[in-house]
Symmetry: C3
Subunit: 674 residues, 3 copies
């Protein structure tokens, strides 16, 4: 694995640079990322380039066996450019220009800015594209972060009108499909259309609640903005690809920002890269982002471009707690276990100045190596030991499906805000499967479903006819499908279906949705779940789709006026089964339901027993089963195994019990007597 840190040679005096280079080369890492905010040093005056400082560091590191990821610096346009072209500034949803002085204050659609961005990218590509000391390129920094994903400037406005015209052709057609007649909003022509007043970015202040807007218009603006940013990124990607064979990517903000469709955005990139800052003090690191990352480019290895490095002061308000001893190492190995091909800590040494001054890093401001440095050193060593198993494969038989249209639509019109969040809910399904011993993939609606025995489909709010057909075929051909409440409610125009719900799928599931409501604390009721071997009671949660129809009732209400009503169903359809979960269930009931379906699908749980805060990741290499085990409990623990396993690093065999230290990890191989 490529393992290392972000580093900023442009911040350093010569003496500091020497000191840091010594520490870097002694640390055992093999990768350093540089250059992302240094435009004003790369091009101090328009057209006058200076890359010597960067070339020198690249070479110095390279000669010590450390290769560099080179970033384009476009997240921070220099003062001279902003001064000459203030029209390139980002305009937020209140009509305010972002001022120079932060970052990400540019409009991605502005043609002038696109031209300047192309020029600096080309210079970088030329100089570093063939360097033997380089191993890849990062475009820009955290696109759409800091609520910069929904520009409302005049350029965007005009372009959005054209986008709408291009899609709907006639204004009559747009008026019809979007239901503009509601609140009497038929437009006369596309030029009258403006980007909606608000964005759904969390950190942007909202003038008017987003649900006041036409949902069709709103969803198109999400798509348009996502697409525009991808266009901007691809200008750089295309240039870089012309000059280099090294991988080119960017560092998305993963599940945090969500204003770019990563399935789309990575098509022209060589891998999916993202930043991840999980808590490492007495906390299980959520591996859902890794599973999502692995699914973005259909199983290709992904890059973690920025990752936690410690605690202390923090960019942004109060400080951040330190990782437990061992937690940093554990987290890096966990990402490796989940298929990461790169993992870079942010960052090597604490900044004394600038907006992120004092912020935690691997080495403190004074340059003295302390426990986090030494833990990084250990980790680097360990990764070398693990190199032989790096090419092990995943063989998951269950998948959780996610989609940006459904995600955006549920943000535009929430159903149980803030408790129900689409991606969190998908993550919950993923986690409960894992705790029951079933690793799963996280895949897009466009993925190949045929290799999965169980497909979990949380809140597929928006479906196309083609997707409905894809689900139908999946079940017909023998798959087990579990869909939840809020399935197939709207079409791709973000307009509700006027057929009975789940639209286009009532025969597949054998159910019709008879009545819906959100479930809050005040209207919770009891559900009884009857599975093959178990009976479980649970409260309902989040939402309720009361079900009619001919399917078998796995779950029914047992209290209040809903008593007797079906809420979880199973239907045989073709060679498969289609289940509908009309509400959210408690942890135990959800576990029983998911595990029951896995067993029904003929899947076996991991013989090394996963549970809450004990994660087990299954990989297969040359026909052998490997299990990474991570102890996220707050102390030492013992993990049970049903088969004898061999400790890959320690060389011993465990018959039943695998002892684990706090924040420890073990890699075991299934032991086969030959």
């Amino acid at each position: 694995m490529q393992y290392g840190v972000a580093y900023y040679p442009e911040h350093k005096s010569d003496g500091e640079l020497d000191h840091d280079m010594e520490l870097l080369t002694a640390s055992g890492i093999n990768t350093v990322r540089m250059g992302e905010f240094a435009w004003c040093r790369m091009e101090p005056e328009e057209g006058k380039y200076d890359f010597e400082w960067l070339e020198e560091s690249v070479e110095r590191l390279g000669k010590a066996g450390i290769r560099s990821i080179i970033c384009t610096p476009t997240a921070c346009p220099p003062a001279w450019l902003v001064h000459r072209h203030p029209e390139m500034l980002y305009v937020d949803n209140r009509g305010k220009k972002r001022p120079f002085g932060g970052r990400r204050f540019y409009c991605y659609n502005n043609p002038v800015y696109r031209e300047y961005s192309a020029k600096i990218t080309e210079e970088i590509a030329k100089r570093f594209g063939k360097s033997p000391y380089v191993s890849g390129f990062q475009i820009d920094n955290e696109p759409a972060q800091e609520a910069s994903g929904r520009c409302h400037c005049p350029v965007c406005r005009k372009k959005f009108s054209r986008w709408m015209e291009n899609k709907f052709k006639t204004i009559r057609e747009y008026n019809r499909r979007s239901g503009n007649i509601f609140w009497g909003q038929d437009y006369e022509d596309f030029d009258q259309i403006k980007p909606p007043v608000n964005t759904i970015e969390v950190s942007a202040w909202q003038d008017m609640p987003v649900y006041f807007e036409n949902p069709t218009l709103r969803l198109e603006f999400e798509r348009f903005s996502s697409r525009s940013q991808i266009e901007y990124q691809n200008i750089q990607a295309d240039i870089l690809h012309r000059y280099t064979d090294y991988p080119v990517t960017t560092n998305g903000t993963g599940l945090a920002t969500n204003s770019i469709d990563y399935y789309e955005s990575t098509k022209n990139l060589d891998c999916y890269g993202f930043d991840y800052y999980p808590g490492l003090r007495d906390a299980a690191v959520d591996s859902f982002p890794y599973a999502f990352a692995r699914g973005v480019k259909a199983g290709k290895p992904f890059w973690v471009m920025e990752f936690m490095s410690g605690g202390g002061h923090r960019f942004g308000g109060s400080g951040r707690v330190q990782p437990n001893p061992g937690a940093l190492k554990q987290a890096v190995i966990q990402s490796f276990a989940h298929g990461a091909d790169m993992m870079l800590h942010f960052q090597f040494r604490t900044f004394p100045f600038g907006a992120e001054q004092l912020n935690y890093a691997i080495v403190d401001m004074d340059g003295v190596p302390r426990r986090r440095y030494y833990e990084m050193q250990d980790t680097a060593k360990l990764l070398t030991q693990l190199a032989p198993v790096e090419r092990a494969e995943f063989s998951n038989q269950a998948a959780v499906c996610v989609d940006y249209d459904s995600h955006w639509a549920l943000r535009i019109k929430p159903v149980n805000d803030p408790d129900f969040q689409y991606l969190d809910y998908a993550g919950r399904m993923y986690r409960i499967l894992a705790e029951r011993g079933y690793n799963s993939d996280v895949i897009s609606y466009d993925a190949d479903f045929s290799k999965y025995k169980l497909l979990v489909l949380p809140a597929a709010f928006i479906t196309s006819g083609a997707f409905q057909m894809k689900l139908r075929r999946y079940v017909e051909n023998g798959g087990i499908l579990l869909a939840t409440f809020l399935t197939s409610v709207k079409n791709k125009d973000n307009v509700g279906y006027t057929e009975t719900l789940p639209a286009g799928l009532t025969d597949v599931f054998g159910v019709s949705v008879e009545e819906v409501e959100p479930i809050f604390a005040g209207n919770q009721n009891q559900v009884h779940l009857t599975l093959k071997d178990t009976e479980t009671d649970s409260g309902d949660g989040m939402w309720c789709d009361l079900l009619g129809g001919t399917a078998e009732a796995l779950g029914t209400y047992t209290s209040d006026y809903k008593k007797g009503a079906m809420i979880v169903s199973k239907n045989s359809f073709g060679k498969g089964k289609a289940c509908y979960l009309g509400t959210d269930l408690g942890e135990r009931a959800m576990g029983e339901l998911l595990a029951g379906l896995c067993r029904e699908a003929g899947m076996a749980p991991s013989p090394v027993r996963a549970e809450k805060n004990v994660e087990v990741v299954h990989r297969v290499l040359d026909g052998h089963d490997y299990y990474y085990i991570f102890n996220f409990t707050a102390g030492d623990t013992v993990v049970k195994t049903e088969v004898p396993v061999y400790d890959y690093l320690k060389g011993c065999v465990y018959e039943n019990d695998i002892p684990m230290e706090r924040n420890g990890f073990v890699l075991v191989k299934r032991w086969r007597q030959r």
Copy 2:
């Protein structure tokens, strides 16, 4: 009663329209409201009108015995109008124009918009004013809703200067009466006066707390804005009245928005109409809005133009819970019991598109009739059975007085925010009276007081000399008056009285206010109440007016340094009694006090026993007493009666116990042996 739904034929394809018409005509309802947001269909291009689609639906329904309420569409000006006259847009208190894309984005004072509004209204009036299938007209939609009641555009600014000049004549007089010398704010002329920076609309974001403003100016701006909206409404009302004899009204937002004085606004309307969305799941429906509605036009029947229809998705954030089975029916009958002459569910069928897409309705998006539809059908039938008692009268002997000046003044300068809300407090008095068996009216300061034995006057913060005199006469002539803390503190200029409080009334009450303070959790003390037959202890609440004077002390403090101080008083004055309640009391003590005063006034409580969550509404028809009983408890219950009563619908007699189902209602008649 006119009973039905809102419906939007302009949203529908021909097939959908046929389907809906069938359901509508089969449902038993007799009224449908249409047209409120359809300007862009009524006048797709300036001056080109198209009403065929609406006429067709009106006729189709009319022939099936369902009459239509026709709305003017002015809440949603069409795109062509906004495009040609952007100066008509509403300007909020931050100086921002409301954009096209929501609703209510117009300025009610803008002369251009007034002209266009008049024209479309006249077209509607001409076409539908004499139609035999129509039964009334609604002007616009929810005036002042969505913080649209305080426009700050240049037209409003100039007009406000003239309003001030007209009222105060000379700037010297305005400076004097408003105390502009405070913070040195004497104006040189009226043109320097601007509308205050903020509104007190809850949903508008506030730049500067409202209490930073001159309170005289602020109150005048409230009055000016209210008056301007009434002017705008009356342009339409006058046109409609010229063409039709059917009732003309609008749908206010009742006690929710409060930026229009409904006593004023309904003078030129034929009845008071309002929208009401109470919770119907395990909740008592508050009847205070109905009592208020009945009082707006001095006892005239009122219209509920929009009412709950169900749960599920919701316009605005999270969804909404479904009504209990029976709750919809119960709520409709309750409104009937309280004097509603119209009750329209919002709305018939769920919108698939637009800002309110998926929002609950009587029939779901798929057009399949389910439990809410059948309950509406039952309700329609039931209303037919109740028709003979529709003309029964109210004969309440107690009244609660409310006033917009006091309400606005207490919002401008709150005393115990957010706990003390003027209208909520009036509602509390109303409710406790009802729970003790005394129905009361809710009336304006201009109402005829002479027919009431007991007058409750909550927080009459602003009084005129004339109103003080009216209260004085009421008591002199034998009435019992209960005023509360914060009585007669300010004059009509929103300026404090410099006489001892309650200003102008110290002799009537026999008290003087000696010291005041808010009561929070941290400074609560104990009060002892001594009435004729009962002794009660209670905590104090909200506010405290410590009383001096010669009145009889009904209540005194028993703890801390306030020990012994009078806080509830009674004074004989003329033939009547004037009581002053210096603080808020707990439920029991307040009930004892109010019931005691009712008894002292010679009033008898309902023989059918009301209590918490059991509402009893008394009506009188041809000399017979009728009691509507509503069970809002969360289960079945038994209601006690002191006299035998006859069940109007079931035909049986109850001697002592009236059994009631959850969400049930009973109409009984007092049984008289002849």
Copy 3:
């Protein structure tokens, strides 16, 4: 002591004025403050002055023995001035002009406004500078209050560029020292620099979190804005000083607003004046603001220009509770005990009109004297009796050091927001010392340290090399220094030190900071404190600086992975001791630590026993010890004394027990048998 009220003769009719004058002269007070918002009466038209009304009141009061503080009225420019010069309006951090209609809506840097301010000040100075009835002058009102301390208008912008140029000379130097390379923000010239988008004023709405800004730029803007306001104030101070020998000051908002450096701002003023509105109902009045005030001008008496007068209605939202009987008197004596030379209640009589209408005062709106008036009368009498001890001195041997750079820097980049507030934390140290019997001074970094045996230095986040040297000398010469976490982290450019922390002081303390993190509820651990005679356990809090080094460990962690790590240290250095407190401690442990250090420094606690809610203030007159004792407990109490004391007012002697009433106070003198 000068004791009295604020009064507004310009609000009054002749009859009201006569009434009030009678009450004022009968009350026993000796001082009245007038004129602060009356510009529009003093200069009703440009250049036409009218001071007769004010002169008349000054004379009338003067002849009755009451002297006047005259205010300049510049907080409220008149309508005619704003109308003619709208460019003088304040521009907030969103680019919005403050409108006329509130107060403090001017820009302190605007040259036109400075000119007009100078003219009105000169007129006042001429007329009142020599009056025998005057005793001092107040400039403006509450500078920087209501978020008016960070103007962003074009004048400020230009001036700020010049400020930066003046300080850093070349843009290259500024880029270097501020680390503008971070996020690639090197400027080309000083004209490109704008004031940061946000202020750190609490009541101003923030566009972008403050920590997004360059911290060097941000701190300079704090200094620039503070300095600009001082400049503005000094224009007036200089004019007044030219015409009068009476003291000239202004009324700051003390520790509440903090956007002006009071150490700087009072250099050209004759004393420090501030406004203070503590709660007086069952509450201890915090004396930290008094100790701070005494330290502003190195021990000079201070003025309390506005002080609580009661409860009831309130300027700003909900009302305010009344003081306990006696609490007003107690609070005035407390301020006297702490060295106040003036104490003026705000205000004499409740305003009927304007933004502060109904707001509490000594006398209610109706002009009837009630308990607060009589309590003021008593207090005035009492102060006369205490006059002989007024010149007693303070002889505190401990001091708490505070500084604006550290304060601002911790607001710009908070560490544990909102729990950790710099000034509150200093106040906590002060309070715990007092409860252990040690009065302390609160002093600036520029104060003379040599007279203190113990110096407490909370979170000296920013230090200069010179200040580091000053601390070093203090300890070398025998002082005991207690510094806390976050000491010497940054230099005066608000840039982090790259030496090991506490930078420049590791040898003095014998420690190095090894690891830092915030302490929240979730990562708290246990600390054990070993002092000479006591062992104490405590949780940690706020922040953690884990310590390495050779110092003696007074405190070590006892739990989790920090177990055994040093967190409180003591080091002998020269003749003194330097202690480092790496975390916050609980009340008891902090008390033990502070008391232990006091004892080690050879200090003795007060023989009259202070404790929580019993404050003891020690003064020395002619070699005699005086102790003011204040009972802030919620009832009567008994205070212990270790030596016989003599009650100064009652004339009795207490051997062991001093009985005290609720809200009582006693002045005792140490009894010496001769």
